[in-house]
Symmetry: D3
Subunit: 133 residues, 6 copies
C-alpha cells in the first residue's frame, strides 16, 4: 500500500489541479496514473516531477520512443516495478513492437552481464583511451 | 590492476586467436580492447561473451545506435566505468552526437529519480493496469 | 512467501525468546515484526541482527529520527519493500511528519539523478580535492 | 577522463555564466566544481540540475545537514565516488562531525545488511501493516 | 502481470518445443517455469538464455550447489524476487540445507554492509596490492 | 583519498590495538589492511565490523572458500573495488584457482543477465510455488 493517500480530483488543490490538467492535455486522455495522485500530497514536488518528465521525454536529438526504451532499461536496472509497467505501456503507445521490446531486454541483459564480468576482473581502461600524461 | 593478466597476440591459443580475429573483422580495425585480453584467460567464457555481444548488438528491430544508448544507460546504472567509457566511444562511432549523449543522460537521471521516488512512496500499480480478477 | 517459516512465541527456543523479550522491551510494545520471526530459524543470526539494529539506531551524535531517515533512504536505493514499509512506520513513530518524508524523498530522488549524471559524464574528482602529489 | 570537456569561465555562454554566478552566490565562494563545468556542455541540463540542487537542499522541514547526510547515504548506495567526496565536504561545511559521519556510515551499513537479509528470506509485509481487504 | 503472454505447450513453435524438451530432459521432470514460457515469445532469446543457464551452471571447477549459492546471492543484491524464489528451490534440490542457506545470507549481509562502509570511507587500495610503478 | 586518516600502530588506542592484534592473530601474518586503519577512527565500529567478519567468514555449514566466493560475488554486484581486490586475494589464499574464479564470474554474469530479463518481463512467481490460498 502506498505510504501516502491518493488525492482524487475532488480533493485536489488549485496547484494540484493545474498539474493534473496539464498531464491530461499532454497525454491526450483522461488518465492520471496513481504516482501523480500520491505525489500530490506534496504539490511542489508533484509539479517539479511532472515538469521534469514532460521536458525530458519530449522529442529532441532523440525521439520519444528511444527515450522510453532508455527509461525502461534504467527502471529494470533499478528494479522499479511501477515504472517498468507504466513506461512499457508508454513505449507501446509510442510504437514499440514486441520485437523491439525483447531486443531492448537482450541488450539490458547483455550489458548487466558484461558490466559485472568486467568489474569482477577489475579491468582498467586501456592506455589508448586515457589522456596523454 | 586487473585480477588476471592480459593475453597478448603472441600468447594467444588458437581458440583465443580465432576470437581476436573475429573481433577485428567485425570492428573493421585492429583494436582488441583489454576486456577481451583479460577474458582470454578463460577461452570458453571469452568466446561466449564475444558471441553474445556480436549477436545482441547487431541491427535488428532496433538500430545499433539505439542499442548502444541502452547499453550505456545500463552501464551507468551499474556504475561500470570501463563499459561507460568504451561503449560511449562505440556509440560515437555509430553516430551519437553530444546532444544525443546529454539527452540520454537526462533520461537516465530522470528515470533514476522517479524510480526512487515511486519506490519510496510504495505506489502500487493502478487498478486499470492489473488483469481482471 | 518467506523461504523459512515464521517462528511463533510458543515454538521459540530460550535463545530466541530472550531476543523477542528484548525487542518488546526496547519497542515498549508487544510487536514482533515478521522479519524477526523468520530470522529466528537461525538464532545466532537473529541475535546478531537485533543487537546491531539496537546499537546502531540508538541516540548518539545523530538523533534517532535522522538515523531512520538515512535507513529509509538506503532501503529505497536497495529496493527493499519490507524495510521501506516498516522503517517509515518507525520514522513516523519517532516524529517524522509528511513534509519531512517527502523532503527526504526529494533528496533521494535528486541524489539518484545526480549520481547517475555524474557517473555518465565520468567526471573526475577536482584537482582541488585531491591530495598534493 | 570526463566524456565532455570542462567549460571554463572564459568560454561560458551567457546562459552558463548566469548559472555559474548563481552557484558562486549561493556557495558564498568562488568555487565551481567540475561537475558543473562538464554539465555546461548542455546549458539547459546544467541550469535544471543546479536549480534542482538549490531548491531541494535548502532548509525546510529537514535542515540542510540532515539533507546532506541523506544525499551522501544514497551516493554510497549508488557507488558514486564524485558525489560521496564532494557532498561529504558539503556536509562538513554544514557542521557534520567525524562522529556523525561514522554514525551515518554505520546506519548505511546496517540498512544494506538488513535489506539484503530480508530480501533473501523473502519476508512478506506483516498482516498488521496491510490494508483491510 | 508479465508483459508478454506465457506460451503453453500447445502453442509452442518447433524451435520453442526443442528448448522446452531440453529443459525437461535436463531437469529430469516435467516442469517448465514461467520465465521460459514468457521468454518463448522471442525464441532466439529463449534458446540463448537456456543454453547459457545450462552451460554455466553445470559441474566444473565449482560444484553445482556452490554455483546456485552464488546465483542466489547475486539475485538478492539485484532484488530479483523471481530468481531468489526459483533458485533457492534449485539450491535445495542440489542439497542446500537451511543452515547453509542462512550462512549464505549472513555472508551476503556482511558483504553488503562492508561494501557500503568501505565505499563511504573512500578507502583506496593499499600500496602493497598495487603494481610497482 | 580516504575521508578519514589511516591510524598507524603507534597512534592506536588500546581498544584499537586489541582489534589489530586479533586481526594479525586470525590472519597469521602482520598485515593490517587499510580498511581497518581507516575504520579505527571509530573504535566501536571497527571492533564490531571485525567481529562480524571473523564470525561470519569462519568455517560452518559452508566452507571458507565458498563464503569468499559469495562475498566477492556480492562485492561485484555492489561495485566495491576495494572489496573485490582484497577478497579475491583472500579467496586465492583459501585455495581458489583461476578456473574457479572465472566460473564464479560466469555465474555472476549469468545471474545479473537473467535477473534483469526476468524483471524486465515482469514474470510473476509460478502458481506451483505459491502457498495455497
Amino acid at each position: 500500500m502506498a505510504l501516502l493517500a491518493r488525492i482524487d480530483d475532488a480533493s485536489a488543490s488549485p496547484e494540484v489541479k493545474a498539474v493534473f490538467d496539464d498531464i491530461r492535455a499532454t497525454r491526450g486522455d483522461d488518465t492520471i496514473n496513481d504516482v501523480w495522485r500520491v505525489l500530490a500530497n506534496d504539490p511542489a514536488l508533484l509539479a517539479d516531477c511532472w515538469r521534469s518528465v514532460k521536458e525530458t521525454m519530449k522529442p529532441g536529438a532523440l525521439d520519444p520512443l528511444t527515450k522510453e526504451l532508455v527509461y525502461v532499461a534504467v527502471s529494470i536496472a533499478n528494479s522499479c516495478e511501477y515504472c517498468i509497467q507504466t513506461h512499457t505501456r508508454a513505449a507501446r503507445a509510442k510504437g514499440m513492437s514486441d520485437a523491439q521490446f525483447t531486443e531492448m531486454l537482450a541488450v539490458v541483459g547483455l550489458a548487466s552481464r558484461m558490466n559485472r564480468i568486467v568489474t569482477g576482473l577489475q579491468v582498467e581502461l586501456d592506455e589508448r583511451y586515457r589522456p596523454p600524461s
